[in-house]
Subunit: 416 residues, 2 copies
């Protein structure tokens, strides 16, 4: 195994032990200084970012990707404000969630503790560096950040500045570490760094997530893919359904909580689909409809099997007419990636059945799927959206970066 | 990939969907019938078990292992009673643990749902079959059981009987499935059955757990190893410390919540160690002491570095004298497997520091580590003891076999 990852892992583990014992006030003070130090070094960050942008242009990177890479005064300000928001959140560590007395008269409490060392493998956007580092720090976890090569210089500078703040606070700089080697080797080694990593969180496209899932021996929290649906029930208010579908599809189609497929009850399809097509005219959304839906639409193509399975992340909407709520639920449970699903209905019974029978991280009645988000859920921040069932499911905030330990008060009990 | 595991996986996934929708009363009724059906078929179970025992003797299996394999009328009765206890536990599924209103006026509730399909790879003891199957069933999960070859016929018969009960209740028999091929291939395929398994829980020795950890691409809950300590502080009551050490070491040394190393403060060692050695005389416990401890003991050997790292699971106790609470905590955090750790002390401050600074699933003041157990913790039953930090840490009961989903009530909200 590469020496670099082992060295980083060992340092992080020691740093995690120290970080787990910090008081909330110390952590918050340090976060506020990190935010100020970022702002005060805006010029250094922009200079490092220029190096990344220059390299990206040389490599013929596309404009949207260049835009995601680019830092500006305002974006750096937003990153600093993001850190301040994390400082303002309640500290999850030390909270005893429940405590009870057992038959043996032991008092047992379940207390929140840090996970330990969190690894994050992420792609282009540099703001993930400060978001993830501040969330891990506040939740008492050491973090090892392994970003993509596109944002290498920006990420490196951001971590150096945060480490400088740690140093100024007499704290171990290994509390926030950066992998300064973006070769595939370091990613692969992180996936098998069982002696040092307590969890690995991949943040990026489906390819990265699949690669981590299939190669990691350390515990992983899978994030990301959303093949989501809105089902417009026969008892829906058409205007509400129209607004929700447009919002869920067209407000920001590149994100994981946008929808890919619309299901419409056959009784309402003749009225609803023409209305929707008219409203969608001002957005560049291409429609791919099944044969029934096609009869109510002017400018739609015919959907094929592959469309029901695809997370387009684009201005494309697949549309299917269903004969019943059962058919809608069956379609969703078969094709969805179990991220976010919504029904639009005024029927009490149909709404309750949808909530009970649809298997997904977030199931909605009468709202856009775009709300599946740590900040919108009220968690204050988000480290990602889990699409697995273990540990955390759905948007993950500070609390989901913790584990627990049982603290047990006895007075001499032994087991019979 | 082997056709068998894919077929089982697919069937289990479909069965899991049905099982997730069963009402509590249906599940309990079915569990009570399973218990009765086991008792009513005691003779068939004993006959199958005889086949395993005969094979084991032929293969020269050791007496303790034969004893773990052997079923009797009483053991079958205990298995049936275990199922009845699971039926009597509250159903975790459907519980909404918290619900809140967001800034956007969405009502969001976090509701307990089954994990889906649980895989269990386990070794010799046939009672794991009925324990695991009943816990998974009650928590709404389909289960795929892959036992060891030693208990093949017993396990197969137990699953057949439980499936017969499912059939009598017009339920899908794939809710409880048995892998009737104990080759290494089926275990390896289960570890990579990502399309169908939501979690894999290995139950057995360190070798099995390591193998699963290093090869699985499905999410795993690691169970098991306990390299545990009792630290006797200078402010300990000697009688209490003596009772706790003897209980934690000698009551049942083969289990994961027994201790392997005793740490004693140097101020109290001259008085405590001779007392302990005398009390231990009636147990066949071999002592391996560091050089300081050795001076207070008559019949101890010298401990070597390897002893601090070893989970003996036997009548062996390593003993080390420490100069301070700090040294004790440092030793524990360095060598322990983070399972169960206990301090014996009358000092308020030392007890609190131990609870805060020792990193383990269960940390005790003034009690034996032997209480780390789902039943003793009040969970009513136990599927295993997790030694990882993700998802569940410490004893796992019904609740730890669940995931959650967010159910969200809106009235037309779209995201700005």
């Amino acid at each position: 195994m590469n020496n670099l990852m082992n060295v980083l892992g060992k340092q992080s583990k020691e740093a995690a032990r120290q970080l787990s014992q910090l008081e909330t006030a110390q952590k918050n003070e340090c976060l506020l200084q990190m935010a100020a130090d970022l702002e005060n070094n805006t010029q250094s960050i922009l200079t490092a970012n220029q190096q990344d942008l220059k390299q990206a242009r040389k490599n013929g990177v596309t404009d949207p990707l260049i835009d995601r890479l680019r830092l500006t005064d305002i974006r750096i300000q937003e990153m600093a404000d993001g850190i301040r928001q994390v400082a303002a959140l309640p500290d999850p560590i030390g909270v005893v969630e429940k405590m009870w007395r057992t038959e043996d008269q032991l008092m047992i409490g379940q207390q929140r503790v840090p996970l330990g060392v969190v690894g994050i493998i992420f792609e282009s956007r540099p703001n993930v560096t400060t978001d993830a580092a501040s969330l891990c720090f506040k939740s008492g976890n050491a973090v090892i950040l392994r970003g993509g090569k596109e944002a290498f210089y920006s990420n490196q500078m951001l971590v150096e500045l945060m480490q400088q703040t740690l140093r100024n606070n007499q704290l171990n700089t290994a509390m926030i570490q950066f992998v300064n080697d973006t070769s595939r080797d370091t990613a692969n080694e992180m996936m098998r760094l069982n002696d040092y990593l307590d969890v690995l969180i991949p943040r990026g496209g489906a390819g990265l997530i699949q690669q981590v899932k299939m190669n990691a021996t350390v515990p992983v929290i899978e994030t990301g893919t959303g093949n989501n649906h809105v089902y417009v029930d026969q008892a829906a208010q058409l205007d509400m359904a129209n607004d929700i579908v447009i919002n869920a599809k067209a407000q920001r189609p590149s994100v994981c909580n946008a929808i890919e497929t619309l299901l419409v009850h056959e009784d309402i399809a003749p009225e609803f689909l023409p209305l929707l097509e008219e409203s969608l005219a001002s957005y560049p959304v291409a429609l791919r409809a099944d044969s029934k839906a096609l009869t109510y639409l002017k400018k739609a193509g015919l959907a094929v099997e592959e469309d029901w399975k695809t997370e387009f992340l684009d201005y494309i909407l697949a549309i299917k007419v269903v004969a019943s709520l059962d058919e809608a639920i069956e379609h969703i449970n078969h094709y969805s990636s179990k991220h976010s699903e919504s029904i639009v209905t005024d029927s009490y019974q149909n709404g309750q059945r949808f909530l009970k029978e649809v298997d997904a991280a977030a199931v909605y009645i009468n709202a856009s799927t775009r709300f599946t988000d740590g900040v919108k859920f009220g968690f204050g921040a988000e480290i990602g959206i889990s699409t697995q069932k273990l540990h955390a499911r759905g948007p993950m905030g500070l609390e989901h970066l913790t584990s627990s330990k049982y603290i047990i008060y006895g007075d001499g009990q032994i087991r019979e």
